[in-house]
Symmetry: D3
Subunit: 176 residues, 6 copies
């Protein structure tokens, strides 16, 4: 058994400047470039938690509500929320800043999952996560519900077996 690790031990911060080739015809950051950066920052967080090479297993629904302009500075923060035997869920938050104009907006929240691999490329067990802050604890708890949704969406679980999720459609709690 691996000793558990704190959620904060995997915390990873990444800062990127939006360059011309990252933008579309409206001079705004393309969604695909943002997901590319999210994948790297969350893979590093998953590596830090597991001390293993990791591969992306899935990405949850992401919304892109705020345009992010050319020259903006993007900050991404990621940490592992919970481990499931050989996989880990990582939570990523992104902020964009137009520094000369002193505008800073929260742009995205996302969940990526990774599988830890041993040197032969086989899935291998990872440590459990110990959440400490209220936010880490809330993310730890809700990870089960997100996992059920992922399993349903990828066809590996039937909707009526997803007890946690099913309750939502009766009680109107928040899914994500």
């Amino acid at each position: 058994m691996l000793p558990p690790k704190k959620a904060s031990e995997s915390l990873t911060t990444m800062t990127e400047m939006v360059l011309p080739n990252d933008t579309n015809g409206l001079n705004n950051l393309m969604g695909g470039r943002l997901m590319y950066w999210m994948d790297i920052v969350s893979a590093i967080a998953a590596q830090k938690h597991s001390n293993r090479l990791v591969v992306t297993a899935s990405v949850d629904n992401i919304s892109f509500a705020e345009p992010i302009g050319l020259g903006n500075v993007l900050t991404l923060r990621a940490h592992v929320t919970r481990a499931f035997t050989t996989s880990m869920e990582v939570f990523i938050e992104a902020w964009a800043e137009d520094i000369p104009n002193q505008r800073k907006v929260s742009t995205n929240k996302a969940f990526f999952t990774f599988v830890a691999l041993d040197k032969a490329g086989k899935p291998t067990q990872v440590a459990e996560v110990t959440p400490e802050t209220p936010e880490e604890k809330a993310l730890y708890e809700s990870a089960l519900r997100r996992r059920q949704l992922r399993l349903i969406l990828s066809g590996r679980m039937k909707p009526h077996d997803a007890a946690e999720l099913k309750a939502l459609f009766e009680d109107s709690k928040k899914v994500n």
Copy 2:
């Protein structure tokens, strides 16, 4: 009113070769690079349908089941499935081929949504989609259900208002 357009009019095919910088420490394509390509091919499909500049509005859950190796050829096919006033859902399929070893695998299916913008950057109406093949028709029908899930996941709809989705949790039909 814009005249409707066929789903096939937006069909876009993209082919990419996996180069060293696209890979992780196991010589496999990073998930983030794949999502970057998915975003571009689906943005082009949405442009073709709307004849407008478009921005990524959301990405649905994506699973990464198959490793894609260095030197593999990746083919992505995208087309618009359905329009919702100013937004469009695009379906993307990806295949990877190791051509010298004659291995070809279906690697991913994904749904991206885009908003069409006029020259002032404001959302603008797009044509409706006319599905023709059985697959296009099935994607057209299920687009409503996926849209409800997106609205719930982004906090813009309450679970108990999602009639289509709610039925699923009683009937055990396929969500995606």
Copy 3:
């Protein structure tokens, strides 16, 4: 003897969006970037025909008649026209679209040749090509003439030995 393959079996379609770093001081696609993409799409077509790793052996004269603007979508289609023992000629067509302005132009036609290599890096035999459509048949026939010109231009054939080409300078038929 390898069984012949249809020209259409090697058909490869590639779609690229012209980004800022692909353009010159006039906001038009640089010729060098276009040739870079042509090389990749035609190498993939040659891989598909031969199921081998391939290397570029030569590029025929290419004209750049149409400017291709920033944000345009470029579509490249390539297929093998004819095989010569260990080498293959690939025909590439390129179109550029300014989708919001509904302008689509044919921009280039090009011929690249590739050599198929075995695992030791030595040239190895490839299947013959079976052309089917009238266009494929015309390209198959004219491949001999283009090959003579390539051999002359690279100093491996003397002009007066190029029977097919020589006739042209008497009859005024089309060279390319």
Copy 4:
């Protein structure tokens, strides 16, 4: 009338190191990357001759005889050989060096043509070229023959009107 400029005034030298992303599955430089660099070095030479923005008009047949390995240093030298009203022919030579193993090979010779543009993007006259060395003079002379071939290959001249080229097919002189 613009005063003529020496061929050597446009001489441009470029040095590039072959990095992983420039290579194919055999760890050799891809032809498309080499053409990308050739286009840039020759565009700079054409800029130096004309003091104008320039666009690539055509590329003559290029052969790729020598593999160029990962980590090799590539040197490209380009200068304008001759001007034709608003266009210029540029000659490019490339060498590859594996410096630790002290191997240096001449890899390619190529001819690119460029058109000079004024600020409105219209073709504009360029200075004539004064060749000085025997090699520059030979390139200046043979430029006419290569131009006839380019015009024939792009369908703008009929073979029997190409007096210079036609002679070749009777006399067996070198075409290129």
Copy 5:
């Protein structure tokens, strides 16, 4: 007069994964790529302090003592140490981690200076820095000495006018 800002307000953290194209023939990070990242992280820190666009004015001597391998994760932390009218000195520290092998090394310390520019591109005044921690205070103090050395090295101050530095050569204190 602009109100002073704390050194910590400009703190910027950047995380990068070393990819194949960032490495030399020994699979180690090239010094030039590291300086490219240092320039971006420190430019962002200088933007945060000044709320202005900034340009790199100079880079102090940097030593590269530790090799940083392919796949390593590089963390860079930067903050402004002191302001001089329109310029700012930024201190950058870099660490490299081979996460699967649990090796983490401090690799570099560097000082970059930036000039803040107004919208017309002219140098413009920036706020003073208030150092708080002992390390920030030590960096604030020693910034004068480093500035003298920079002025001497760029020929804008004569060695015998550099009182602070001169003392060093008599007292044997640490220069950097």
Copy 6:
């Protein structure tokens, strides 16, 4: 003992065009991109002198006095000035040209040092440098002084042991 090599044998010229992604919010070349190019051109010069793989050991203070605009052509010239057992100092000069506007400015002078490595990655002896021109001789002489400064700045020499440098602070000669 390796036979000495002339300074000119390592001369390397590199030409780069400033593309959109190389620029900051003012459309000027970022300092980090310039240092990236300086590192590559000087590494190639050091490879040519030593016929070995080389790694960057240090970079001396660099000033960035002149803005270099988008579309400018940058020329970098580098050669080894002096060898110290297993290391080499390389001198780099950079010029920027706005060719259509016929403006050419000297932008930077820099010194990089490299260590030569054998196949096992261990430092290995390099040939001495024979300077020939007055400029090469001056650079050869002043290399000792710059080396003392580097050793002091990296903490490997105490200021009062740097006889050459110390004299400077009494005599007011040029340090760099």
